[in-house]
């Protein structure tokens, strides 16, 4: 048996003493040999969690005084790192959606057959085995967006999956387990779906379905996911290679610029190495070197001035002109320079810069 410190700790919450005894016995036999504690009320469970750290909470929903959803909402706020599984007899999709919206990792109906019990135990084992990872969508930690989509599809859900990644928000519309549409920023349909699939982290919530939503995606979910995986792989392969898109106007963007230039209102984009001063990537510029030099000098001069004045690090520099606008931003070891169409308002320019930086971070 592994040392106690290495064994995962699971808290089992149910108001039925028999259920607690039964699942305690079953769960202790898992290969990871978790240490199981039990609580017959929400208050007791919270008290236990105050006194020691658990890896996983398995909670019933229907309980007197404090119900499972109330417990979960407190747990999510106080202990955001703990994984939460709802195991309940409540099959109502409303509660399922609410629980997932609150960020539970798994919602299962109490297993009845030996096959269901085995499946349930597999899921629990997989959850307690997982180490903390930074990648993962809040709600189902360590599950990729693909997993979440497959879950929604398998459960034949009709819902809207709202996905948030920093300041980026997208929605995927499900009808009877099929993806019928998606939207993100100015993108819709498959294009928006593909964009969201490229996000590595974020959070999600399940919203009630929109029955009036027009279907724009007619491809089965599995096919969609396969196509997206293929596109993402291709993108990663491009990024991994030599990135020197010194493109003249009209040339196809490469590397990091691929996502940026898809946005409406972008006239040109350039990424410069702020250490070496070299142009790393550019798109839509006749003379990227001149632009890179201007961007670099401008950011450097204002950064130095900010230091001298104790204004802090320059966040961004935006220039407005009658022909086009331009936004400059230092991000890590690169200078980002984006040209915007003159019709964009100042607010549009500012919000697009933020969006680009969020995308970059993801």
């Amino acid at each position: 048996m592994p040392e106690d410190v290495l064994r995962p700790k699971v808290l089992l919450l149910d108001d039925d003493a028999e259920v607690l005894d039964l699942y305690k016995e079953i769960l202790e036999r898992l290969p990871s040999q978790p240490m199981i504690q039990t609580a017959s009320s929400g208050a007791r469970a919270l008290a236990l969690m105050d006194s020691e750290t658990f890896n996983l909470l398995i909670s019933d929903l229907n309980m007197p005084k404090m119900d499972g959803l109330q417990v979960i909402s407190i747990v999510r706020r106080k202990y955001p790192g703990i994984r939460v599984v709802v195991m309940t007899a409540v099959g109502d999709s409303q509660f399922r959606n609410r629980a997932y919206a609150m960020g539970v990792d798994l919602y299962v109906e109490k297993p009845c057959t030996s096959q269901e019990i085995n499946q349930f135990l597999d899921c629990i084992e997989s959850l307690v085995e997982q180490k903390d990872e930074k990648v993962g969508f809040r709600g189902i930690q360590s599950k990729s967006l693909t997993d979440i989509l497959q879950l929604e599809s398998l459960s034949q859900s009709s819902s809207i999956l709202k996905i948030t990644n920093g300041s980026l928000i997208g929605r995927i519309f499900f009808l009877n387990g099929q993806v019928i549409d998606a939207d993100h920023d100015e993108l819709t349909g498959e294009e928006a779906f593909q964009e969201m699939l490229s996000w590595n982290t974020g959070s999600f919530e399940v919203l009630p379905p929109d029955s009036t939503r027009e279907r724009t995606i007619h491809v089965p979910v599995d096919t969609l996911l396969l196509e997206c995986a293929h596109l993402i792989d291709e993108g990663q392969a491009e990024n991994a290679g030599e990135v020197t898109g010194q493109g003249a106007s009209g040339e196809s963007p490469e590397g990091h610029l691929t996502g940026i230039v898809k946005m409406k209102g972008i006239e040109f984009a350039l990424i410069g190495d702020n250490q070496s001063g070299e142009t790393k990537e550019s798109w839509g510029l006749e003379n990227p070197e001149a632009m890179n030099q201007w961007a670099r000098e401008t950011l450097k001069s204002f950064s130095e001035f900010g230091d001298k004045m104790e204004f802090g690090v320059v966040n961004q520099v935006v220039g407005y002109g009658e022909q086009r606008h331009v936004g400059l931003k230092v991000h890590s070891d690169v200078d980002i320079c984006i040209g915007f169409h003159r019709n964009l308002t100042k607010d549009d320019v500012s919000s697009k810069i933020q969006t680009i930086i969020s995308k970059w971070g993801s």
Binding site: E286, N287, A290, M291, Q293, W294, E297, T298, S301, F302, F305, G306, K308, M309, E310, F311, G312, V313, V314, N315, Q316, V317, V318, G319, Y320, G321, E322, Q323, R324, V326, K346
Partner: protein
Amino acid sequence: MGILNLFRRKSSKNELKSIPSGSFTVDRNGDFLVSTLSQKFSPELNHELGNLVVKTFRSARNADLSLNELKIVFPGVDITAKEMRGGAIIFIKPKKFGN
């Protein structure tokens, strides 16, 4: 009594610098013309900022960018500069947090 000294705050004569608020104008050479900024704001720094802005407008033109306004965003202050016949009017506006 010695141990109590550990908890006593060290007096400091350093004052936190407040960020000035106001505007000033510079000519095409970056020379200072008129200002509404507090006297506490060093004239040298005024001059430096004016020069920097004029130079940035000029160098942008060399990079095929014709700009008539610049906004420089710092965590605590926004600087807006509008081009005026080669010179510029520069606004310094500290950010109000919590609004």
